[in-house]
Amino acid sequence: MRKILSLLLLTAASLSAQDLVSFEKHVTVRKLDNGLTVIIVERPEAPVFSYATVVNVGNAQEVPGITGLAHMFEHMAFKGSETLGSTNYDAEKAGLQKVENTYAAYDLERRKTIGRDDAKVAQLEKAWKDAMDEAQKYVVPNEFSKVVDQAGGVGMNAFTRSDETVYFYSLPSNRLELWAYLESERFLHPVFREFYKERDVVTEERRMRTESNPIGRVVEEFLATAFTAHPYRQPTVGYPSDLKAFSATDAAAFFKKYYVPSNMVVAVVGDVKPSETMPIIEKYFGRLPKAPVPEPLRTIEPPQKAERLVVLHEKSQPVYLEGYHRPAITDPDDPTYDVMEMLLSVGRTSHLYRSLVRDKKIAAVAQGFNGFPGVKYPNLFTFFAITTPGHTPQEITTAIAEETNKLKNEDVTPEELQSPAWRWSSRWRRRSKATGASCSASSIVSTR
């Protein structure tokens, strides 16, 4: 099976080679002196551009006590900077320092397990809250977002995953310099204003995505079971206890360690000429101070010695997940896993659709996919199924086993492999249509 696979992948590559060559002609990549990688893709169809800043940090860089901090920082990156979001930064800065000091005192007392003085806790909490009210006086809420909106920004957002944190939006192309200023300033002079209120907002995000959503609840249990040591076991949004405890001081330390130019990629796609754009990017982003690349992650998930099963009894209808450990994306077998994903999951000719959805009618959705929860480190090939009424997770287990056994024991025909090869190349072409998508895709590829 292996042999046929690699042969056909070659065909797939040659099919899209022509597109790749013409695509590459429009791509300029440059590493600045401070280590920042810059990618510019010229696509002059309309006077607009999209960008993505990809930072090589995610919740895999967290340890217990600060889980959720990578994501928390992502939220803080919308709070402006020293020059944006404040009516009087000097006064605000002093106020924010006071917030940190009072919080540290309050947090220390309230988390004492022995000899806690509740009256003192209340008093310290009040001091902290008063300090927050004082600092808040200088805040211009969401001024960063306001400037981007008013300049015509669309699709402004960011996300944090296990492996990376990504920031993005699009602007009309005459706003390139404004963007270069705002985006570099965001990582040059971040200000941790409204940190504790935003921590509440993030906690609401956790309530929405995890606590009040049965799929969110089961995914959290699933990952905590699948990984025993590697940080992939920790939820990206963080544990509630950590969300209640960590401080802006913690966030600043995390930022300092990981938000260094050598750990970041900035990609711009659209009506941008590299000859004009690169100097602007260099001028603004070149200001980010050079710093050492953070050391690689130490923990490696130990081999799994026994099957692990987690059953979450809920009032909702069943949701089924089944995962298998697989190597990181850098492994030479990675393309084989991709083809396996296509054979099992993509389209109505895929094995899982035909067996579980179309013929057995035990699932409304049945897929197997790579890269859960990330790809940078050894991760999971995961099967996901939604049962149809009257059918049980046990039936899903049996049916998936049938399909994986077939894949293991029977040869995949060349005809069948040709289809994913075609689909792969055409999917690539379709994806490169969207400015935003090709932008983040190319920059993500580059960070890895």
């Binding site: 597109d19 309309a46 006077p47 020293e82 020059t83 944006l84 930064y89 808040q136 809420p141 969401n142 977002s145 306001k146 909106d149 008013q150 015509g152 920004g153 669309v154 699009s170 009309p172 005459n174 310099e177 404004l178 200023y181 409204e194 209120k197 935003e198 509440d200 907002v201 993030v202 609401e204 995000e205 309530r207 929405m208 606590e211 009040s212 009894h313 809920e314 009032k315 909702s316 389209g347 109505r348 000719t349 959805v357 179309r358 009618k361 409304a364 149809t388 009424p389 009257g390 046990q394 039936e395 040709q418 289809s419 075609w422 055409s426 999917r427 072409r429 379709r430 249509k433 400015t435």
Partner: protein, 714 residues
Amino acid sequence: MKPMKCSTGSQPVGAGWRAGATFALLSIATAAFSQVSNYKNIKTPPLRSFTVEQPKRVVLSNGMVIFLQEDHELPLIRGSALIRGGSRDVPADKAGLVQILAGSWRTGGTETRTGDQLDDILESRAARVETTGSEDATRVTIDVLKNDFDFVFPIFVELLQKPAFRQDKIDLAKTQVRTQIARRNDEPQGILQREAQKLGYGADSPYARTAEYATLNNITHEDLIAFHHRFVQPNNIVFGIVGDFDSAAMEKKLRATFESWPRGESAPPPPPVNAQAKPGVYFISKEDVTQANIAAVHPATLLRRDPDYYAVEVMNTILSGGFSGRLMNEIRSKAGLAYGVGGGLSSGWDRPMLFNTFMGTKSQTTIQSVDLLKQEIADLQTKPFTTEELQHAKESILNRYVFTMDSKAKVLNQRQQLEFYGYPADFVQKFQEGIRNVTASDVERVAKKYVHPDQLAILVVGNEKDFEKPLTVAYGRVTPIDITIPEPGGQPAAAAPAKGSSTDARALLNKVRNFVGGQTAIANVQTVREVGTMSLKTPQGPMDVEVENITRFPESHRQVLKTPMGEMTMVSTPDGAFMISPAGPRDLPDSQRQAIRSESKQDMLNVLKNADNPAYTFNIVGTENNAQILEVNADGSTFKWYVDPTSGKPLKKVSQGRMGEQVIEYTEWKNVNGINLPVAFTVTGGANSGTGKMSTIEINPAVDAKLFEKPVAQ
């Protein structure tokens, strides 16, 4: 820190990096106080002018409108037929028809090829032909590599004009929609969205109603064919195509294909919106959540073609545009009460929509959040729109305008949409002008005209025991909304018109009652215990299950199943329902509780005990072989008995389950203490097929009441 900050942030375009210049700037900035944010010093060159190529519009003699848009960037061609007629155009008792239609149109294949064959043909070429449906339209789309167009296009045309809607794929689509129905109460945001629409438009409105098990059961192959025939006519279609082709050659191809298609009946105008949200507070209980989801809605009247549309768009942007609207600033950033918050006044293309705002907050701040959300809505009429707010909103809308036309495909889609709703082609261009002309007093006026803070229906979905105080304490009258999923044939008793029973049906029922044991003997049965075996057909092969049923009339049931996977106990009483599995006891979800209740109403002895209860009605609806078909409505739960008219013996029972029709044939009867009961039966259809045989039946045995109590979890 300060000098560094000022020097780094304030470089004007092209300015040198000289220390002198920096210091000069520093002193100016200090003097002017740091309110002058440095981003303002960055120059904005004028946006490069560019003209968007408009697609070519072609009208065929049969009324079909075609838009052609060349785009040679990549060797792809994409097209879509936008067809008038959608879910709002089907009768209420067939709600879900467009979902089933869209779900089985492509998969059900064409006259010459099955859907499975199409899967193989298309996927081997990485081509896509798909069908979707929405409130007012259905769509057939094609997406191919340029070189495959001539091969795939005829498939697209055949699917558009001659779909087969094969029954197996209709069944598959129904299974998919049943799955959605079964899961629709699992996630609180889904509940909020759906029920807010129902509050706003009225639960039965064509703009809010949802598919139910019962309405799915009403949808047939003939219905789909009839819908297709009614709406898929050239004069109801706006077809758009974009990609790497030559327009003249493509136009010729399309004319050759579609010109001879005869014109059909036009689509009807949109059904009226009889919006009817009654002001007040509504509550849906959901216990497995830590967050309350809140919506505030009222009916709106605005259409997009109205000149007020522009001022309303500016108002919406001030309220919730981007990440810097009032709702975001006040509720998320300043108060930290929500992650998701938003909404505004929607303007429909061809029918009025709703004013709808929503948010999610922790259970403990529910009332506080409702109050704050109401305040923000009221503020639209009382808190003046500042010059800054107005300018910010207008500039945001105008500056992002370029993104409405930054690709040829987007421009094509717009033209198609405008044509579809009968809007002028320059509507999009006029939009800019419309926004530019909006003044603060316009926004003030539309906020007063279209927003009605006193008419809001507030909906809360959440776990009330964790709220800071009960909703009734905060707001007085609160209307609970029951979202229990109705079982097929189990419409709420109030909704099912009480039809009464016919005389001949009464006579037949009496025969059945006499066959089973007579009125007195049946009335004396308080408890029945049955033990036996069921042999089920499962996808893994046959499976034997030992079963013990205990029924305590009127409505307590206990069932123990011993399966190869372990022992399962299910108990349903008027107080609730729970199950005990090897993992321990747990409460059953409302949907299952409802299913068990509905099923237990159909119990043979229960029906006969209630022969004179007006909530139970009986009618003869036909004959089959020599049997008479007695339709029973057991307090909202309906099924049919096939009865031997001579002896009164029931031969089989037919009911609609969520898995489709289920038939139970009674193959053997046994008389126990004067009561005749079926002891062997065959089941086909529904969730489980197989046979059952009862080895023991006891009438009024002693039963420990504890068996019906939920054990404490370990």
